[in-house]
Amino acid sequence: MNLKSMVTFLAVTYGLIGIMPLFVGDSVIIMRILTMILIWSIVASCWDVIMGFAGIFSFGQVAFFVIGAYSSAILSVSLNVPPVVAMLMAGMITAMVGVLVGLPCIKLAGPYIALVTFAFHMALKPFFSGPLGKAIGSGGSRGILSVPPIKIFGMAFSSAELVPFFYLALFLTLICSGVIVAILKSYWGTAFLALKDSEDFAVSLGISAFKYKLMVFGITSFITGLFGALYVHYVGILSIRVLSGQVFTTLMIMIVVGGIGQYPGVVLGAVFTVTAEQLLRPLGIYRFVIMGGLVVAVVLLLPDGITGLIRKLFPGRQEKESRSIETHKSSLEGVG
């Protein structure tokens, strides 16, 4: 997708979500869904940037989200850091962890990256619930029960006041979407596409795969951590349950449904998945049978998710797309 249609798409989608509270501001359930759509759409977008664009098989996205959440919660609860500062620090801590995990990972072959990042994810559970986690204030398996709301100029943002919090989340979502678009459409984004196409070719152009991949790991981890922090100040409680396979799969459904590497399709994926998850909630844990089946079905039947489906229905767009990639490539060869 070219820059213009990408920005238009995001503006329309988030714009529509943004005016929703004017009509449904009184409905607690719908406001909660809308807020969660905003938060997850960014977390899923970051994952899409890593997997779909940078071509790194990272399975550590939920782990980064959780690290951001725990960092901010611990900083604001145990050390009384003001939540806004804590959130930024959480972003930075997550970015640092992201780079640390990325360092040994990026040079590994695809499945190894998936494995190490996923093992990292799995190691967080015993870490936060064990004595080490307790020592830094994770609250063990009970978790942290009273995370303070975000306060800006004396105004509190939390789940108690859904509409203001929604607009705070929207504000951050728009900024971070801007950053993501900037990454994808800058020289970097072009480099990613080249790297994904042919790493050898890209390297021959002087693109350092390692440097770019590490940078994308760092930036997306920052954003993911920031939104993890936003999430924890929103819900007010935090436990290791966020690390469950269900959360992981829900996030994965978003990018599978949206289409991997089809940003901003993943935003639609988030809208769909969060809504579906809420609608299926009466089924309790059983809804994850449906969610799991959904992943299988979508991967098999819709190779590029909703985005691919839309393209199939309106084939005119596809040509534009491939042409824009071509111009990307030629501009890249010019640079090299």
Binding site: L115, T249, I285, V289, V296, L300
Partner: protein, 290 residues
């Protein structure tokens, strides 16, 4: 003190033998099909629940003999069908490796929660294969453990024999070493892909029966088992069967000794550390080929 060290070593060997059975199945399927199966742990539980249904729910006669004789074909067929229906169609796509990971992750969740839906969230206990203990000098063994060890090792030997002495086994090796070459000599590649997937399902499912009768059938066990099997194969060198064998026993021992000296909660951290150090020094794993 010496007795304790021997005791811990033996329990390490025991763990290692079952891990080897499960990890080698995974190494095989990765080496041959290059498919990264995230639903692997769910097949472990499939073995456990299969035994539970047969022994407790249906009360079949013949005990574990019936279980093993029916579980092998059952797991093989399930694995074969799943490969044909789910993994094989993806293979033609450019980014199929990533897609397979995601699909099997979804499949894993589907099965895991599916077990809870069907069998309920509570642990299921299976009857012990054999009861009682055997003592040699000061050492006391559970008969159950001896049986687990014997079945695992027999399973591994059967597997090695099939791989090296039968036509299908040779064909599997041929596809792993050179898929194009295998096709040239007329080996039906797609069938071999499905067959290896099925064999790996059998191996992990048998591991599941063996360990579940000792512990419990735990619906949440899938993920840790999957991770453990993957860590062992990655540590041994992805796709290297011999590497996985050594890695399984090394990790089995490490677990036993870390659990004994430092405590059980440090086991996972120790394993992860070992994996990271190994991969940092040898990105292709212990015995993997570049």
């Amino acid at each position: 003190m010496l007795i304790e060290i021997i005791d811990v070593s033996i329990s390490g060997l025991l763990n290692g033998s079952v891990y080897a059975l499960m990890a080698i199945g995974l190494a095989l399927v990765y080496g041959v099909t290059k498919a990264f199966n995230f639903a692997y742990g769910s097949f472990y539980n499939m073995g456990g629940y299969f035994a539970w249904v047969l022994l407790i729910s249906l009360g079949m006669k013949g005990g574990y003999y019936t279980v093993f004789f029916t579980a092998v074909p059952f797991l093989f067929i399930v694995g074969f069908i799943l490969e044909k229906a789910l993994v094989s169609p993806l293979r033609k796509r450019a980014d199929w490796e990533m897609k397979v990971m995601m699909l099997t992750l979804g499949l894993g969740l589907f099965l895991d929660i599916g077990y809870i839906v069907v069998f309920g969230p509570r642990l299921k206990s299976l009857p012990e294969i054999v009861e009682g203990t055997t003592s040699i000098g000061e050492l006391v063994f559970l008969n159950q453990d001896i049986v687990i060890f014997i079945i695992s090792i027999t399973g591994l030997l059967c597997f090695a024999w099939i791989l090296n002495n039968t036509r299908v086994g040779m064909a599997v090796q041929a596809v792993a070493q050179n898929p194009a070459g295998a096709q040239i000599v007329g080996i039906p590649k797609d069938f071999i892909f499905a067959a290896t997937f099925a064999i790996s399902t059998v191996m992990v499912g048998l591991g599941g029966i063996l360990l579940c009768q000792k512990n419990f059938v735990i619906p949440q066990a899938s993920w840790p088992i999957m991770i453990k099997a993957w860590v062992i194969t990655a540590f041994g060198g992805m796709g290297s069967i011999r590497g996985s064998l050594y890695a399984a026993f090394i990790i089995g021992m490490l677990e036993a000794f870390v659990g004994y000296t430092l405590g059980l909660i440090y086991i996972d951290i120790a394993i992860l550390t070992l994996l990271l150090i190994t991969l940092a020094l040898r990105p292709q794993g212990l015995m993997g080929k570049e």
